[in-house]
Amino acid sequence: MSTVDLKFTSSLQDAGSFKLMELPPDLCKLIEQSIESNTPTQWTVKGQSTDDAVLCTSTKTYALRSVVLSNSVLVVTRSEDADLMDSSDTVVIRDTLHEVLEPVVSVPKLQVLNGLLRGRVYDEGHEDVDEDVEMEEDDRRGSQSQTDGRPTRKRKFTYDDARETLQASQVELDRGLRERRVLIIDGTLLLCSPATIHSAVYSGELRPIAPSYLTTILELLLNYLVSLSLPHSAAPVSELTTSLEDDHEIKAKVSKQVMAWFGDVDDGLWVMDVKGVVREIGLGILRAYKDDPIPETDFMSKWKTAVGDTFEQSTSLDLLHGNFISIPPSESFSPTPLLSYFPSSSLPTDPFARFADLFLTRSRWKADDISPFLMDICVDNKERDKLLLKYARAITDKDGVWYTARAK
């Protein structure tokens, strides 16, 4: 038998200074690795006072749920008090807890970026944010709403601001900025490898690039690759940026970032991501056909012309999944399917609202057709199927499975 005295701590600072957090296997592994390799690691809890808090590791975002316990959990350690240190038979209750935090993997909450970056579009001739001029950014989201309540002078919104404001891990934020084609202007370390990006603190201003401007730059890049006979798998960055700057007044800091988005820059050489460039140019063409669909064959030939002979082979509608809807010939009285621009990025992020929008656009969907429009609101296919099960109804007929709206 061994007996110890149990006491409350005499330190007044201890109450409320402990919390319990359940560890899913992946988080537990991270902690173990950190302890084994003896490297301090830092996670962060992020959120404005009105948000639900999230926990971010360097690569993932977890929603934090609070689970209330009806029992009390006492945190017991050796006493901090020096007087009691020598008495080996006393342990103290440091805190009494009634709650466990439960992290649940979630998608990064990057959608707020769209709002934060509104009116900061970087476009040809609009290199500085201009307070009076209406920017094109809202084209995608259906205009209006942008007229009133604009502050007359805007503070710059920097990378550091985004890191503090947005509920996303560093990797997810960087990816989100890339995917949204946001330039980091006048920051340091613009072209660095992912490994160094994390340790680098930079305060560059965030400016989303105008889609049309981006298409222009990419088309010019393709032209220069051909006219200067540079290989697309190893094109000297400086040669391309100089040409763009001299002939078209496109600043090197912009074209360099564009190249980094669409490929890898290694040792001054650009390894072009052919699919990425071809896809973006395709999007650029498609964007014009929002309300006024274009026959698929016409679209494909326009696309092939735009990318040129060298990359013609790489065009494929598969690249544009989640950005268009195709109207079959039977419904459109046209010999080939019609395509219209329908980007999933402009749909609501709340699952209920998104499904409502999707079923307004079309009353029934094939599984393959609807899934590209769900990719950005779920973490994996399992969650996607859960969403489909919850918000849609599956009907099977001779053509296969269709999803329709759930009856109210």
Binding site: D5, L20, T44
Partner: protein, 152 residues
């Protein structure tokens, strides 16, 4: 707002627990779960709660609080728990008190300097799930010489 959570930071250790206790948690920290709460009249600070005994053979923990005895057991947690601790602010910070409120982030919210450390990862806990039993037999003889007898 960003609240850092430090893992494997040099934490303020309070020293190892007796081995009998450490087997219910980690070397330095044990979680004890019980029904209800411990109520204390007046200030809790420094108050004695009771005696915690671990039987060396059966490994059964018992907790005696006053005339009540609680029987506990070892429970393995389905998922490990991280114990987070917010270290008290270092004394040197007191001078900078005026700085607080000066720093604001982009949205205008105040920057806080709160940090949490992961001080332990526990995979088991000591649970007292039963009601306390009155300890009649072992009550020592009162000064007057009379012994309270068990009814019935």
């Amino acid at each position: 707002m960003i609240i850092p959570i430090n893992i494997n930071a040099s934490s303020s250790s309070t020293g190892p627990l007796p081995p009998q206790l450490a087997q219910f948690g980690t070397d330095e920290l044990v979680l004890i779960e019980m029904q209800g709460t411990l109520e204390v009249e007046g200030s809790k600070a420094g108050q004695a709660v009771g005696k915690l005994t671990v039987d060396e053979k059966t490994k059964k923990p018992t907790l005696r609080i006053g005339h009540h005895l609680l029987e506990g057991k070892l429970v393995n947690l389905p998922k490990p728990l991280a114990v987070l601790h917010r270290p008290p602010r270092p004394l040197s910070n007191d001078d900078d008190e005026t700085d607080i409120g000066g720093e604001r982030d982009w949205s205008g919210a105040q920057k806080t300097q709160v940090e949490w450390d992961v001080v332990a990862v526990v995979r088991k806990k000591m649970v007292f799930s039963k009601r306390p039993m009155p300890m009649v037999a072992s009550i020592p003889v009162a000064p007057g010489g009379s012994v309270v007898k068990k009814a019935g």
